[in-house]
């Protein structure tokens, strides 16, 4: 294989993994606070469609990203109200949000289905982009790739190096104890859920503005569910989320190249399209095969509603 093709595949891999990283980082914070939001697919769909509409109407990708962020956040407020204030079942509420979001996205995006956005130019990072080989893959990317790295750094720093991150983890592990020392469990959880929703919306918007760049019904294609699975199998740690997302992107791009190239493949195309999902799950399951590992790392109060007794 010549080196140009390898560069192309690797650089496309980073691009394909990026929406997943953004969404999964949001869900990670969300779940670290003890709230399980299965509505990721719906929030990503809504972010994608409203992000696209905004980017199209204002002809500015930045407006689109902001719209995705805001729409995801607003949807998450509804979810937070149901599960935190009204103490509804988190799993069922999340599924309702997934169905609702995908449906509303299909409805709202219908008039925009045949439109497409101009492709956004790559950003060349000065000096680094001139590095031989690596520069082309890592530092001549779409802006959203850099955005995902910045977000990764922020989430990592917040979780492990800041007081508020410690409080967030405490709320996820034992909301009763956090409440007893006078911290607002509801407040922390609301913020975490809104952050998670906003990043899911942003991830969706990245998908429709930078990656596609267009909107069709079913654009998200299960990426919300994959992001949720990533967080679990990454045992709630940011670095593994990054690895898992790039793995998904890699297999996605590899099978696209395989289908596009002239190589005779005897496997049906549908099976190849299913491959990225399958490969991600299989590899992540193998990595975290030890059930003790999952149990030790999962936030202890994940999925349980908390009620502050007066």
């Amino acid at each position: 294989m010549d080196s140009n093709l390898a560069q192309e595949i690797l650089s496309a891999t980073l691009l394909a993994g990026t929406p997943l990283i953004i969404a999964a980082l949001g869900l990670l914070i969300n779940e670290r606070a003890g709230v399980l939001n299965l509505g990721a697919e719906g929030m990503m769909s809504l972010g994608a469609v409203y992000g696209f509409i905004a980017a199209f109407s204002f002809s500015s990708p930045v407006h689109g990203l902001l719209a995705g962020l805001v729409v995801g956040g607003i949807t998450a407020v509804g979810f937070a109200f149901l599960t935190i204030t009204l103490q509804a079942n988190q799993v069922a509420s999340g599924l309702a949000l997934a169905i609702f979001g995908v449906g509303l996205a299909g409805f709202a995006g219908k008039p925009y289905e045949s439109r497409s956005l101009p492709a956004v130019a790559d950003w060349h990072i000065p000096f680094l982009a001139d590095l031989p080989w690596v520069g082309v893959v890592l530092f001549q990317q779409q802006p959203m790739v850099y955005l995902s790295w910045v977000l990764f750094g922020l989430v990592w720093w917040f979780l492990y190096r800041s007081r508020s991150g410690l409080l967030l983890r405490a709320v996820g592990e034992d909301p009763g104890a956090a409440h007893a020392i006078g911290r607002s469990v509801y407040g922390v959880r609301y913020l975490a859920v809104i952050f998670g929703g906003a990043l899911c919306g942003l991830g969706g918007a990245c998908l429709s503005i930078f990656y596609a760049p267009m909107w069709v019904e079913g654009l998200i294609a299960g990426r919300g569910w994959i992001a949720l699975a990533l967080v679990v199998f990454a045992t709630w740690r940011p670095f593994r989320v990054l690895l898992g997302a790039y793995l998904f992107g890699g297999v996605l791009i590899a099978q696209l190249f395989l289908q596009g190239s002239g190589i005779k493949v005897t496997v049906p195309a549908q099976l190849l399209s299913a491959l990225p999902y399958l490969a991600t799950i299989v590899v992540l399951v193998l990595i975290s095969r030890d059930p003790r590992l999952i149990r030790q790392h999962s936030p202890a109060s994940l999925g349980r509603p908390f009620r502050a007794d007066e």
Binding site: G78, L86, S93, F100, F107, E217
Partner: protein, 84 residues
Amino acid sequence: MGQLTDKVALGYGFAAIIVAFLGRLHPVGVLLASLLMALLFLGGEQVQQHMNLPKSISMVFQGLLLFYLLGADLLVNYRLKWNG
């Protein structure tokens, strides 16, 4: 339908979850709830035919139905008290 397409069971799995919750996790309730859900699906098809709206509008209604159901559970499980 008498034909097989890759979208033959579109959304039925998720709808089944709503049916289970709507039936209050009771076998007889599920029977009744599934009838209500069938109405939503049929309504979605009608809306598509007569008003040119996309079929996904029926998913919006399914989602809202489950939202309201779960939210209203609060009134079943707790008594509201206003502290003035």
